[in-house]
């Protein structure tokens, strides 16, 4: 991706993730910020789908970003930056879940904002959404993670295997079990 420098008029290359992480490793806070904004949505999404409550999510997200900043200096490029960062976020999220004593907190379901939906459609969508949420959160952690990465983040098997540092066959096996569980739980909705 190339952009035009506003001051000199010359075209400059937009730094890719690898360049940004190396700049961050040298102490460049702005580069870190740009990287964080690029990765932020995925990190938030993963932490949310793992079942963290809102305050837990914000804290885990911050801890993930801190870990990314501090780990930048040791990043060797063995995987993509996004893969490495996602792994960090997942580990943070799972740490939160394991530290918890209670079962996942029932999150207030956020209202649908579609202006064209009827009240009934909204209610039905809420109900189904809540069923799905409970079904996903009822999965054991290992299975939940692969569902989140595959069904919500739309990552390839290879990417998921790299993030979780397991063989592709393990990813397939876990996903198969997870999908079977979800189909049973959501049979009525299906």
């Amino acid at each position: 991706m190339r952009g035009t420098d506003a001051e000199t008029g010359s075209t400059t290359a937009e730094p890719d993730d690898q360049e940004l992480i190396h700049l961050a490793a040298e102490g460049d806070g702005a580069a870190f910020g740009r990287l964080a904004v690029r990765l932020g949505r995925r990190l938030r999404s993963v932490l949310f789908r793992l079942g963290l409550s809102e305050p837990e999510l914000e804290d885990a997200l911050q801890e993930s970003l801190v870990a990314i900043w501090r780990g930048a200096i040791t990043f060797r490029g063995g995987s993509t930056v996004a893969t490495w960062a996602t792994r960090i976020a997942i580990n943070q999220g799972l740490s939160v879940i394991r530290r918890r004593r209670d079962t996942p907190v029932a999150e207030p379901f956020l209202a649908d904002r579609s202006a064209s939906s009827t009240v009934e459609e909204n209610w039905e969508r809420r109900e189904v959404g809540e069923q799905v949420r409970r079904a996903v959160l009822s999965l054991p952690e290992q299975l939940r993670v692969v569902v989140v990465l595959r069904e919500y983040e739309d990552l390839s098997y290879k990417s998921i295997a790299e993030i979780l540092e397991v063989p592709i066959g393990t990813v397939m096996s876990r996903l198969h079990k997870a999908r079977s569980h979800l189909r049973r739980e959501l049979a009525a909705a299906l």
């Binding site: 001051e7 000199t8 400059t12 730094p15 360049e19 700049l23 040298e26 102490g27 460049d28 806070g29 702005a30 580069a31 870190f32 910020g33 964080a36 904004v37 990765l39 932020g40 949505r41 990190l43 938030r44 999404s45 949310f48 789908r49 809102e54 999510l57 914000e58 997200l61 911050q62 970003l65 801190v66 900043w69 501090r70 956020l110 649908d112 969508r125 189904v128 959404g129 809540e130 069923q131 799905v132 949420r133 996903v136 569902v147 069904e151 919500y152 390839s156 098997y157 290879k158 592709i168 397939m172 096996s173 996903l175 198969h176 999908r179 979800l182 189909r183 959501l186 909705a189 299906l190």
Partner: protein, 238 residues
């Protein structure tokens, strides 16, 4: 004949790795009801999408707060080691060496409020003084950017004193850079150019945010002079 049933996961993996292989599997699956069911379109993903998280997912990323936490001066390592020291003089020498090493390490990130800020300044000056002339410009861009990041961080925390102190040091290294950049090694120029891009970006952010406006404006002027010098040297070398 033994037949290994196709699963959706095997089919998806094949589709990712080789569309031709996936097409073959799809054709073969038609001969087995169980396999055929596996490759049919699954409504599961569409159903799972009903769990809407956009309210929590589509939010700004608090990277500045995270950066603030990340670059906070670390707490000193826990004391209490019980090494047995048989020779008091050797023990004192070891302690002195450890203290110096700790000072050097801790001072590298010391902010204006830290008692080690002066040590950091001295350390930076020594590094520049001992660096070979062709390497000095690259070092000075890194030092300048380090102080600029500190200044921005202090400004975000509304610490005007610390921010101004860091900008003073940034200016000092930029002034040195303006002189030394003409002697920069050719193979270091790409790194220097990248660092100057960062400097420009940081200063733009700070100007837009209204942080230490006088210092930032002066910094932008100095940067333009440095860049002009840099480009002039680059063209002469072509």
């Amino acid at each position: 004949m033994f037949h290994r049933h196709l699963t959706l996961e095997r089919y998806e993996l094949a589709a990712e790795e080789s569309p031709e292989r996936a097409e073959t599997l799809h054709s073969e699956a038609a001969r087995c009801p169980r396999c055929a069911a596996a490759v049919q379109e699954q409504p599961l993903r569409r159903l799972l999408a009903a769990w809407d998280g956009s309210g929590q997912i589509d939010r700004p990323v608090p990277w500045e707060a995270a950066l603030g936490r990340a670059i906070a001066v670390p707490t000193p390592p826990p004391t209490g080691s019980r090494a047995r020291l048989w020779r008091p003089m050797a023990a004192l020498a070891l302690l002195a060496a450890l203290l110096v090493a700790s000072l050097v390490t801790a001072s590298a990130s010391a902010g204006p409020d830290s008692p080690l800020y002066g040590v950091r300044g001295t350390q930076d000056w020594v590094r520049s003084a001992v660096a070979p002339e062709p390497d000095r410009a690259r070092l000075e861009t890194k030092l300048a950017n380090g102080y600029l990041v500190d200044a921005r961080h202090s400004a975000v925390r509304d610490d005007q004193h610390a921010s101004s102190a860091s900008m003073d040091r940034f200016s000092y290294w930029m002034d040195r850079l303006r002189v030394d950049i003409r002697h920069a090694a050719r193979d270091e120029r790409p790194d220097i150019r990248a660092s100057l891009t960062v400097t420009r970006s940081l200063l733009s952010d700070m100007a837009a945010a209204g942080f230490v406006p006088t210092s930032v404006a002066r910094g932008q002027t100095t940067l333009m002079e440095v860049e002009a010098e840099f480009e002039a040297e680059s063209h002469e070398g072509d």
